[in-house]
Amino acid sequence: MSRLRTAALVGNPNAGKSALFNALTGARQKIANYPGVTVERKAGRMLLPSGEPIVLLDLPGSYSLDAASPDEQVTRDVILGQFAGEATPGMLIVVVDAANLEQHLVFAQEVIALGRPTVVALNMVDLATRDGLVVDADALSEALGVPVLPTVAVRKKGLEELVQALGALGSHDVRVQPRIKRLGPSERRLSARNMARGAILSRSVGHRLHMSVDKLLLNPFLGPFFLLALLFVIFQAVFAWATPFADAIDAGISTLIGLVEANMSDSIVRQFVTQGVLTGVGSVIVFLPQIVILFAFILVMEQSGYMARAAFIMDRLMAAVGLSGRSFIPLLSSFACAIPGIMATRSIADPKDRLTTILVAPLMTCSARLPVYAVIIAAFIPAISVGPGIGLQGLVLFALYIAGIVGAMVVALVLRRSIAKGAASGFIMEMPRYQMPALRDLLIGLWQRAFVFLRRAGTIIFTATIALWVLLSFPQAEPGESQVDASVAGRIATGLNVVLEPIGFNRDISLALIPAMAAREVAVSALATTYAVDAEDEEGQAKGLIPQLQAGWSLPTALAFLAWFVFAPQCLSTIAVARRETNGWKWPLFMIAYLFGLAYIFAGLTYWTAVAAGL
């Protein structure tokens, strides 16, 4: 493949960089795979007016080339061509917020003074207008010495002109003497103020929507109440709204199994397809709707600007355990998946603070636990209402989330007083203006997350399920003997069960936990495969997982199983990303050990308490 030229988007956080990236590259983007690379590299393709395809990089938002956090370091190194394995971007697009020029021009000047081919995207001019500002792009271009193009990324306005300007840059790929000089930080700020004043043609009062919204949402009493209510609605919605979609997927898989059985004679191959592939992978794909709904809420919170307010509200509570509001965002992302959560810790400047956040991130209830929780709750918790609009099933799910949060807080507190001891961390954070989330950015974000989940279902989960099916199916049982008892997997699980029996786990659970080391949701597909293999006849197979669980497990066992999954670090990808982000095996190994320890203790406590209570 010929090396394409590269352009990079740079700018302050909240300049609308990602929206511009989405608008310029559409869905043709590649979020680099987690293992192997050291940065979440968002790259996409776009065409210059000449028809030349180029690579567009979306760099992490930065306030300065003088980096104050690991993700600013990445931006700095890539721009300066000091990032190993990444070619120096030949063109730079500096994105500035038209309504906040005094601030955004500080970093813009620092980048322009490097003397690279640069264009400036004067973004979010619509919001500036809303705030009563009229900005003269030509005057700004004159002052900065580079082309300045007004854009509204979320409405795809001004993009053509921006791409034209970018194409015109490319024709002379030589270093130009920048018109603006390299200045110290204070001089840059002064000069930014003067440039902003020169470029702003009129400044009416305008309505400052966000200030009045903040009066409500950051109100000392209403604010925390609203946040808690929002989180509660999210978790209720994840259960209630997803049901029709999940049922449809479930029905589709059953139809497929029926089709295969009608058209293939009974053989080991047919068993492989129905019991292994369709039952195993299908039992995980069913949870796609729930994952999409959870991510939709998180993305809307991020894009609307509310996430920073949530961090502000949570800061004091986080400070009580030695963290800051900055850790709230990685931890909330970890509710969807610990991997992006751990990667988001790069914005935390304090190393001890960051390490603690990485170590507790797996305690947040990620979407991979949802399949496990959902199937156990559906089987053992009655779908009754305990109040207006509050179902018992949703309430139990909420309690599991709370258990993870409380666990994380306690662990953080202990870590900050022992191995991650250090000065109390600070909290400095810009609160972006409120904004209507753009549907396109929301859909692209959702598609990327759904794709990652489906890829996992198609690779890790598929492989683990198939391996388990093989181990479960051989050697074949003698007549009258249970297939699971006879199989290799059954024998391994019987051995492991010696350790797990005291906490109420049966042999089938021990069996499911082994392949679930790859990914938690495999536990569900593993149970489904186990019961499908063990079913004596087609009628037993057709019964499905939930009746099988109800018949085979006691309530204390089911509750202990839920408690186990609050803590257990059963996700190879998370361990891999923790190793990369902490540069070694020391911390991931520590993480595995303490999480398994907690899982064992709490599953045991749950089981013994439930048995003692006569459940």
Binding site: A68, M211, P220, R316, A424, G426, M429
Partner: protein, 83 residues
Amino acid sequence: MTQPFTLDILEPRQPAEIVTVDWAALVPEEAKRLRALGIEEGAEIEIAHRGIFGGRDPLALKLGRMVIAVRRSHAAAMTVRLR
């Protein structure tokens, strides 16, 4: 012209100007970040919101067209006077 006092005791919605910042009292990365956001000597600020718990921490500072959250401990390292 009033006597300068530390930012953490400034009343909300009172326009003020930062007079001094004790940079040495701040963690270097945080000092860098505050400067990058324009929180430095001469900046015109006001406190827009405060948290509810313990000491009404953190504080949301209004600075130009930005709102920036900082901790009370940062505010205690700065002196301001009313504008």
